[in-house]
Point group: C2
Chain length 232, copies 2
């Protein structure tokens, strides 16, 4: 279904299976396309033109990363739409279940929701070939995104204490949903599982290592919630 | 409220009143920001990843034009958010009244709705100083946007004849709403009216000329509808 050209060798030595890399880029690209739609929708909910502009700029940047990932897929001889296709379901589930009711919940989804995925992708770069790892690191959002959302959330919570409880609940729901949908991503794609998990190849996480990774994701989420004065 | 610096002279000789230019840039910038949200929403409704990608690219381009117009406002010593503020109402009215119910209506809003505004802005460049006119011409969308939407609409109409009636009706509503909201834009802003209409300055459209402009907008709209096989 997904074709591979020999051009992957031009990125240096790669011990990671090509099919797994194509799948991982497909996950990242579809995630970015959905994040673009998401951030654009939150930008539209923003109460002032300067905040619409700040979030609009973030959305435009997500789109540009999506284009970079699509271009990389084409370089590897894959059709981007085909590479993304298997991952529609988990991402569509995530976005359908975590639908911001208002501007503050939208900010929270950007601040705490996208960050869970970013932490996960950053962990994965440890087990990938250097060229792919480097491209993924460059595609991940910088701290500016989190900073914009955090500042606006702290202001909003300071003005309305009841908001804290609602956002804390949303944060917990997002962590749970993220883990469920990530499992679905892994389960539906054997190539991806081969890339990430050591199932006899000597490359990737073993079960203990993967458990530790999940623990780290939880700890980082807890710290992000604490930065807003919220319990995780 | 809106400050003007002397930097406008760096763009060459300008006979147009600066306040009017600031207002016009405010109209264009707010229009682009709203168009960005609009196209991103239509992109999200698109049925396939390649069409999501094509419209996503259009949305990202609208955002970039918005940023260029904001930068130009800052160069002129104006605060972009303030320059846009008076025009929230007519644009918000337009978007609230023309809300696409589905992907095809969304395409129609991009194809026929945005085009009415683009035709209007292009006509205005005839009465503006060359530097501002040139910047506005460069900011206007190229034909690619219309081509993407037209191709998709022709395919959809070919597959479902009942769609033609619904889209023809939407086209008529859009033309009517565009004229109403454009009048509101002009009425709420005297500087803009001074820029566009000749009210004793010898610069701008006289009433007959403006009536002819409106006739040309209507003719162009009719031709666009006819290109889809629809009556205007």
């Amino acid at each position: 279904m997904i074709e591979h050209s020999g051009t992957v060798t031009s990125t240096g030595t790669t011990s990671a299976p090509e099919a797994g890399v194509t799948s991982l880029l497909g996950v990242l690209a579809y995630g970015e396309l959905m994040a673009f739609f998401d951030v654009a929708r939150v930008a539209e909910m923003a109460p002032t033109v300067p905040s619409q502009q700040a979030l609009g700029a973030l959305a435009a940047r997500e789109y540009s990363v999506f284009e970079q990932l699509s271009a990389r897929l084409r370089e590897l001889g894959a059709d981007p739409a085909e590479a993304m296709q298997p991952f529609h379901e988990p991402f569509d589930n995530w976005h359908a279940r975590i639908t911001p009711a208002d501007w503050h919940e939208g900010l929270m989804k950007i601040y705490a929701g996208s960050a869970i995925a970013t932490d996960f992708y950053r962990e994965l770069t440890d087990v990938l070939d250097p060229a792919t790892a480097d491209m993924i690191r460059r595609a991940l959002p910088d701290d500016e995104q989190a900073a914009i959302a955090r500042t606006a959330l702290l202001e909003a919570i300071a003005q309305d204490e009841r908001l804290a409880g609602r956002l804390a609940l949303l944060g917990r729901r997002m962590m749970g949903e993220a883990l469920s949908q990530a499992q679905l991503v892994a389960l539906i794609n054997d190539d991806l599982l081969d890339l990430i998990m050591d199932r006899g190849t000597g490359q990737g996480f073993d079960l203990v290592g993967f458990q530790q990774l999940l623990t780290r994701l939880g700890e980082k989420h807890t710290r992000r919630m604490a930065a807003l004065g919220l319990d995780a």
